[in-house]
Symmetry: C2
Subunit: 343 residues, 2 copies
DNA sequence: AAACCTTACGAAAACGTTTGCGTGTGGAAA
DNA sequence: TTTCCACACGCAAACGTTTTCGTAAGGTTT
């Protein structure tokens, strides 16, 4: 087991000083051509690689980006990570990913861990618990120590920093509009409880679309689901004998569960009832019927977030002072779960 | 923007030496109670956190685990990561995740990057390209520098190290057996090309099961799919007018695609044809019909892999010398896509 | 021969820690 | 008064780099 070789060892072996080795490897003119070649040959032979830790300590930066997401086993978040990685690798940054598991405490712990030397900046989508608790001290603190933070998707209005979001309300409006334009009039919505920022926004978009079409909003058409893991019974209950012609679900799972429930209740999708989802993941693509949905372009979000962060990391102080909010366009992906109602 | 506070600053402020501060924070008896309290109060006030980088440099270990997987947007791999994180966090380790995107080059780059100071050891599932290329120098090199490596899922027989796998062949045999026991006799298999280790193993398991039942294997029942992204046409072609009563697919996507194709061809699953998959992901759970499948227990794999690695990292040298291969049990998850054929 | 300039290299500090050991101070024992 | 011993603290080295500055040797001017 040969240990990793250091400058010191090379220096000793070649009977020169550490500084000479360092300079030689950097092709400094200070060092004679002869020595340079000798050192480089030796370094190559022993597969010398500079120690990142030492460099980080010296340069006071780690060249790594910390990403903290609420769930790791989640298609949307992983696509975002994919985007972040893409940009990061291009620009020579490493990416550390941690999941908060939707726990406030774990979010804080992870953030502090990474903040104490492991990362130069953060890309973060906050945990449910954090949104509920409204405690953002860890984020504020990290920023006040000079580490930039970019929030995405599940953001916090009160925190002033760069943000990358989609226009959730607009996306939901687009979805609802689509249902309206194909002729649906009685549209139910399956959404989350209000403290989930994106859920609330999507609900708002749905309501806005209805108003624009002068369709009165009915409370009985709105289901706010508390426990996502047991949504089937709630949805089944809600949909039972309801006089509707369309369902807008704020995520994939609610959408496919709705279809499943509707099937059980003897309704056909899309013939009897149209269903539209939100987030374009594996399920939407491969389900039968495949789901019409709103694509969030997760990879783009990751790309933009990473760019914002790296700009701030490498920018001069002018850039550092201003914060930007990037809004990623959503798009309607038409598939089989909605179709035009024949008049 | 207050910078992060260091021992040095505290020392200066309190007019003591750095070592005194360090010792005081560690409650060393060398330091008077009075000073200790003063230092601790001050440190708390300024929210002092020791710098991980400096500690890593000093201790020659980073307390982080590098995880390299072929794809990040992939349910199975993320569940494994979930398991790794669980154990890692418990034991005070950080987790850095990189994806190789199934590229050999990126795998090497990531590994070298993390190996030069960022991680103490690795948990790795190799890229397709690496399996094809059979070039494992980066892994060997990392290990020879004293960093332990745990391979999982897509492993390499030739590399001697700890491994965590499922018995792919046995799992496939279980799946095929299940089809046989419910009365199927003409079972097709949808598998990958042979250089994907797990694909080949699963094919072997399928064949073994047939032999055990004295059912002759037919080449026309085996489809080795090259391009996973366009599997639908291949599968459609393959399944057309084929006289079979069951399909064993070595992954989720092949399974649902098969069902889709069969539907198009006017066959009902499970009534006309039974379908069984491999890997228990989102699709299997929520598809209609829900998929009978072989669960790989990804989280368990992650947990075991992390434990193996940490054992090696913290173990004395006896442990270091022996390598273990952990085989995680697979299990059959019965759902709707298979059912007993009435005689 | 004295003064000066290149060339080629080394010493040392710095990044932020931890820790073994040395040491000044004061009080107690002799 | 001298000797000794805790006590409480500081020094310095070490981890692996980079980089500024200093300098010895040798050659070139006057």
């Amino acid at each position: 087991m040969k240990q990793k070789v250091t400058l010191k060892q090379i220096a000793k072996e070649l009977d020169v000083s550490i500084s000479t080795v360092s300079k030689a490897l950097k092709d400094s003119v200070e060092i004679s051509l002869d020595t340079r070649q000798k050192v480089k040959a030796f370094a190559k032979l022993y597969n010398y690689k500079p120690n990142n830790i030492a460099l980080s300590l010296k340069n006071r930066k780690t060249k790594t980006i910390g990403v903290i997401i609420p769930e790791i086993v989640h298609h949307f978040f992983t696509t975002v990570i994919g985007g972040v990685e893409k940009v990061a690798n291009e620009k020579g940054y490493n990416v550390i990913i941690c999941s908060s598991n939707n726990s406030f405490d774990k979010e804080v712990i992870n953030m502090e861990m990474l903040a104490s030397g492991s990362a130069d900046g953060f890309i973060l989508s906050v945990a449910k618990e954090t949104q509920l608790k409204k405690d953002y001290h860890h984020i504020e603190e990290t920023m006040s120590q000079g580490m930039p933070v970019v929030l995405f998707d599940r953001i916090i209005d009160e925190v002033v920093c760069d943000k990358v979001i989609i226009d959730d309300a607009k996306g939901a409006q687009t979805a609802t509009n689509h249902l309206l334009t194909i002729g649906c009039k009685k549209i139910a919505i399956l959404t989350t409880v209000d403290y989930i920022s994106v859920g609330k926004l999507r609900t708002n978009g749905y309501l806005r679309a209805l108003r624009a079409y002068d369709i009165p909003e009915k409370e009985e058409y709105v289901l706010k689901i508390e426990d996502i893991d047991n949504c089937e019974t709630e949805i089944s209950e809600f949909l039972k004998d309801k006089d509707i012609d369309a369902v807008f679900a704020v995520n994939e799972l609610f959408a496919v569960t709705a279809i499943k429930v509707l099937n059980q209740q003897g309704k056909k999708v899309p013939d009897d009832i149209a269903v539209i989802g939100f987030t374009d993941g594996i399920l939407s693509k491969h389900f039968i019927p495949s789901l019409t949905t709103i694509s969030q372009h997760g990879e783009d979000m990751g790309i933009r977030a990473a760019k914002l962060l790296i700009d701030k990391l490498e920018g001069d102080d002018e850039v550092t002072e201003e914060y930007r909010t990037v809004i990623i366009d959503t798009s309607l992906v038409q598939r089989q779960s909605t179709k035009k109602i024949k008049e």
